[in-house]
């Protein structure tokens, strides 16, 4: 599986089938569009998804969108509001882009994110956090990637009440999942030219669980001697991140720490409205998503900021090796925000979503 990922992501022709795939992609890119699943989501989702479609069309990206919406009834085959067809479409297309989904409250069905994660076996969540030039926060020199294990750890959901007033929650760490995410982290670092990978843990207290995670990271690190590897205890990591985020490059972590640290890093660069993310699954599935909420209060008012979904779309393009167009769109977004003339309300400006989108298209 790692070899398949390696061929897919590195594009190096270590086997003839890989050459064939990348060659056929290059040959067909102008004629056969790549199919990608799109989940616009709820609330501001449809507006920002529209924005993404406009920008991609303006940039001549050959993607055919396969749109799916969350249904209003529970599908018994998936036990959630996501239909079986939606999931199948992602499994077939292998790439997708997801907008914010509001999980309806209630019992008897799984949360939407949980459904996606389990059915598509999305094991790593990659979130690049970099300071956007032109949008000033208290931190100017942030440029790091957080890679979080997404399937197990503290979020296994195994809790029970032992006796009245005493509750246990089980945290599970397995070698398989830890190796998987460690392999992906180092591979990502190598393919994106990153120089350092830091494994974040609390193995001095949770010796066996985080100890196993660290062991797996150690093993993978030995295979990549050119990448600097360090282990940082999570409390040190938190402090260093808020004092000097330039110390970090790629961070790889188990589930809970990853959740907290990736949100902390998003806060350093300006919040969830500007942060892209991508979930990686087995067999090379990549589902890019905007992690902010569905903001029902501004839904339909053309005020939403599409940056997060656009940047996630760029991540998706990079995964598809359409690097030229990814770079084009990325620069357009950065320049638009840096210019400062067209900014949506959450960045301190007065533009509408459509004006912002048009500005990006103009910058292409």
């Amino acid at each position: 599986m790692a070899a398949f990922l390696a061929r897919r992501l590195l594009g190096t022709s270590t086997s003839s089938s890989a050459t064939l795939i990348s060659a056929s992609r290059a040959f067909f890119s102008s004629t056969t569009p790549i199919k990608a699943t799109l989940f616009p989501g709820d609330g501001i989702g449809p507006e920002i998804a529209e924005s993404v479609k406009q920008v991609f069309t303006a940039a001549d990206v050959a993607i055919e969108w396969d749109e799916h919406y969350v249904s209003t009834e529970v599908d018994p085959r998936t036990n959630s509001f996501l239909t079986w067809e939606s999931l199948q479409s992602v499994l077939d297309n292998k790439v997708g882009l997801k907008g914010p989904m509001a999980t309806p409250i209630g019992k008897g069905h799984r949360s939407l994110n949980l459904t996606l994660r389990k059915e598509l076996n999305l094991y790593a969540n990659v979130r690049p956090c970099y300071s956007l030039p032109g949008y000033k926060t208290r931190y100017d020199d942030v440029d790091l990637i957080t890679i979080r294990e997404n399937t197990e750890g503290e979020y296994s959901g195994l809790e029970h009440q032992v006796v009245k007033g005493v509750v246990e929650s089980i945290k599970i760490i397995t070698r398989k999942a830890s190796m998987r995410v460690a392999e992906y982290a180092f591979l990502y670092a190598k393919t994106h030219g990153r120089t350092k990978v830091s494994a974040i843990h609390k193995a001095n207290i949770m010796q066996k669980t985080d100890g196993l995670f660290l062991q797996c990271c150690d093993e993978v690190a030995e295979k990549y001697p050119e990448i600097e590897y360090e282990k940082v205890v999570i409390d040190n990591c938190c402090m260093m991140l808020v004092k000097n985020p330039a110390l970090f490059d790629v961070l790889v972590m188990p589930n809970l720490y990853g959740d907290i640290i990736s949100d902390l890093c998003a806060g350093l660069v300006g919040g969830l409205g500007l942060t892209p993310s991508c979930n990686i699954g087995e067999d090379g599935i990549a589902l890019a998503e905007a992690v902010h909420g569905s903001a029902p209060d501004i839904a339909g008012k053309n005020l939403a900021n599409p940056t997060a979904l656009l940047l996630s779309g760029v991540m998706m393009l990079r995964h598809l090796k359409l690097n030229k167009q990814a770079e084009q769109i990325h620069s357009a977004i950065i320049n638009t925000i840096a210019e400062g003339k067209y900014r949506t309300a959450d960045l301190g400006g007065t533009s509408t979503t459509t004006e912002f989108t048009k500005a990006i298209c103009d910058h292409l």
Partner: protein
């Protein structure tokens, strides 16, 4: 007797007046006969920079002629258990001052810090993260007290290997401990004139465990109608801390989140080298550097003797208040804050390049 002790406690626990004015007290502190007798405190220098910074405290206390007598015990992080005599000493003296104890990673040795806390039932850990005047940081108006449950939660130490390659760790939350820490947090807020208590949790995912913690906090909140209570999810909390820290006042958290939040808050307010803190239980108290990051330091700092003693000095001021010697505490705090404000003697983590000894000498010179 109760009324008088409450007013003494109130003044003991509030911070002294601004260092810009000469230290004046508005109410005379009337000690009971015999209050001036020296108290014995167990001193554990610890590992790494521990001996350096505890040495700093000893020097300053001597210069102040503080009525504190230290009983020193050597404890190292790689020991299997805290020696019996050390535990006896802490139980006898009731108060302990310690440097950092390194817990070796994956070494099969359970944390000595946790052992001390569990055996002495020191259930509340407190870190006061506050902007120190003179120390320029990216964030202003930070004044957060993180109160963290210290004995259970993720640090219960109950782990086992199910089959090779699959390991489980149990996180235990009990109503008893959650209620205890919630009650301590609200009482602290009440006695220190704090307006808001925020409970930090992840109950959307860990519904039963953190749900139980939240339930306990809500119940206790009802008994303190004058204090605002709200709840925040831990990942959102970290984001808000780096964006708008002024919205937080007192935060009460279970064990692991408390560790992260305390270190994050300490980092934004100036670094863990400056923040005071302590651990307290019903009968015993242990004072050490507030947040845990860097409390052992690294080899380079130890060699060059450039550890920052400020955090431990401010924590020992908290200890002096706890021991009911408020004037000594005030003098120490004013001196330390003056040294930081002047900015001439600062260690590397605050942007300077001094050794520990130079900072200590500056503090002693600033004592009035």
């Amino acid at each position: 007797m109760a009324k008088r002790s409450v007013s003494i406690l109130t003044r003991l626990l509030t911070n002294p007046s601004s260092p810009f004015t000469a230290p004046t007290r508005s109410i005379t502190y009337m000690p009971r006969p015999g209050d001036g007798a020296p108290r014995t405190v167990t001193l554990i220098p610890g590992d790494g920079i521990g001996p350096l910074v505890t040495g700093a405290v000893e020097q300053v206390f001597e210069a102040m002629h503080a009525p504190v007598h230290f009983e020193r015990y050597e404890v190292r992080g790689h020991m299997r258990r805290v020696p019996e005599e050390v535990m006896e000493s802490v139980k006898r003296n009731k108060v302990c001052l310690k440097g950092g104890l390194a817990t070796p990673v994956g070494g099969g040795v359970s944390s000595l810090n946790m052992q001390l806390r569990k055996e002495l039932d020191i259930f509340a850990s407190l870190v006061n993260c506050i902007n120190v005047p003179g120390l320029v940081t990216r964030h202003e108006n930070v004044d957060i007290v993180v109160i963290r449950e210290n004995t259970e939660g993720e640090y219960a130490g109950l782990e086992h290997e199910v089959v090779p390659g699959v390991v489980e760790s149990l996180k235990v939350i009990t109503k008893f401990c959650s209620e205890r820490i919630a009650r301590y947090a609200f009482e602290y807020a009440y006695l220190n004139n704090r307006k808001k208590v925020t409970a930090v949790h992840k109950a959307n995912i860990m519904k039963l465990a953190d749900g139980l913690f939240l339930e306990s906090c809500r119940e206790v909140a009802k008994a303190y109608p004058g204090i605002t209570y709200n709840e925040i999810i831990v990942d959102n909390c970290c984001m808000q801390l780096v964006a708008k820290p002024e919205q937080f006042d007192v935060m009460v958290t279970p064990n692991l989140y408390g560790n992260l939040i305390a270190n994050t808050a300490a980092g934004i307010a100036g670094g863990t080298g400056v923040m005071p803190g302590g651990n307290v239980g019903a009968e015993h108290a242990i004072f050490e550097q507030g947040a845990s990051a860097g409390n052992v330091g690294n080899d380079k700092i130890v060699e060059q003797k450039k550890a920052n003693p400020v955090a431990l000095l401010l924590s020992s001021a908290m200890m002096l208040k706890h021991l009911q010697f408020p004037t000594f505490a005030d003098r120490l705090e004013v001196a330390v804050k003056q040294v930081i404000r002047e900015g001439k003697w600062r260690t590397k983590d605050l942007g300077g390049d001094c050794t520990t000894q130079e900072v200590v000498d500056a503090v002693i010179a600033a004592l009035d």
